[in-house]
Symmetry: C2
Subunit: 220 residues, 2 copies
């Protein structure tokens, strides 16, 4: 029995619901979401002491970190979505860590200025700094995808799902990525998949901090 | 034949040299380090288009992302340092992603104020913001380690190595973690291991950006 904790419109549980939908495995969902500072129920903290969603319960095995949950689901239940060789396994972890450390926070800041803090003017100096950080990793991914349709091998894998799931704010926030056409094509193909429906249905806003310094501090 | 690219005193290659030392496997090292903006040699970019160290070459298999490199080395060569079950495998990815997303950047900022930007006054508002972010993940890790000596099972694994390697700036920058005694004891035991020598020999300074906003932007 698999249970996914986390509201798919307000938490990173949407990354894991994509994977579960692709696999087509029966599971139940507990649509929790917490506002910053809100007290978590003790029974949820007993599952994940970080108090964060998503959290996965697979039988009696409990796992947190959305991208690690997807790696686990792909490996155990995903067939070709998961690794077929030790090298693929290593590359799936590599791309998951890559998107989490190189892309996630600057893209969140860019998206915040354009979407999360809305109504808010897009553009501005904060976005310029964030986009400058994104230019290098996006050029790497674009070059990687220039001659192929998927990140690893010739099929959709958890590497595509984890990287595209982090990057789903690009269409939501209207970030222009036409400078990276191979990446843009790949991302659109990924996020248009029926199983990725929850990545297209984000409904989450936060107040804009009062100073530019505090905006950056928010994404530390 | 295994080759580790990256100067172990100036890049995150020290995380991977720790793993290689623990395994005791023969390998060669290419001590590259690049200053920000410096042009990378094309032959290195051909290995890792991100132009970042560490990069691992294992036979004809090339891998980047320091924590993914360690997961691969542990799984392929590490014996008990690596996973013995699918659940351990998932937890090793979970803790690696956890430390990369919850701890690394706020700890780097704290360390920057106390060490990397030196000579520089420790403390200040930037450090207070960073330490506030670290309190929750550190409380989680401290509680996890209260009744055990290692993160997973009853032995040292790549989970300990990856989490402690990211946290090696705590002793270097003199960050007070006495509020989290189980974590402190565990971290000291990890970093005192002979194989972790390169984590104790950091030699890396950067200029402090001129405004507090730019300090935060640096760690985005």
């Amino acid at each position: 029995m698999i249970t996914l904790y986390g509201d798919v419109t307000k938490t990173r549980a949407n990354r894991c619901s994509w994977m579960l939908n692709e696999i087509g495995i029966e599971h139940s969902r507990v649509p929790l979401a917490f506002r910053p500072g809100e007290t978590r129920p003790p029974e949820f903290l007993a599952l994940n002491p970080n108090g964060k969603c998503p959290t996965l319960v697979d039988g009696d095995f409990v796992l947190f970190e959305s991208l690690a949950i997807n790696l686990h689901l792909a490996r155990r239940y995903g067939g070709l979505l998961g690794p077929q060789t030790p090298e693929e396994d290593a590359l799936m972890a590599q791309w998951s860590l890559w998107v989490a450390t190189e892309v996630e926070k600057p893209l969140l800041l860019t998206s915040a200025a354009r979407y999360l803090f809305a109504p808010c003017e897009p553009g501005g100096e904060e976005e310029a700094i964030a986009l400058k950080k994104l230019a290098r990793p996006w050029s790497v991914l674009d070059a990687h995808l220039r001659d192929r349709d998927f990140i690893i091998g010739d099929r959709l894998t958890v590497a595509d799902i984890n990287v595209a799931a982090v990057m789903h704010f690009i269409p939501i926030a209207g970030v222009d990525v036409s400078h990276w056409p191979a990446m843009k094509r790949w991302l659109e193909a990924c996020l248009e998949r029926p199983a990725a429906i929850d990545l297209r249905s984000v409904d989450f806003r936060v107040p804009r901090p009062s100073t530019s310094r505090d905006v950056f501090a928010m994404f530390l």
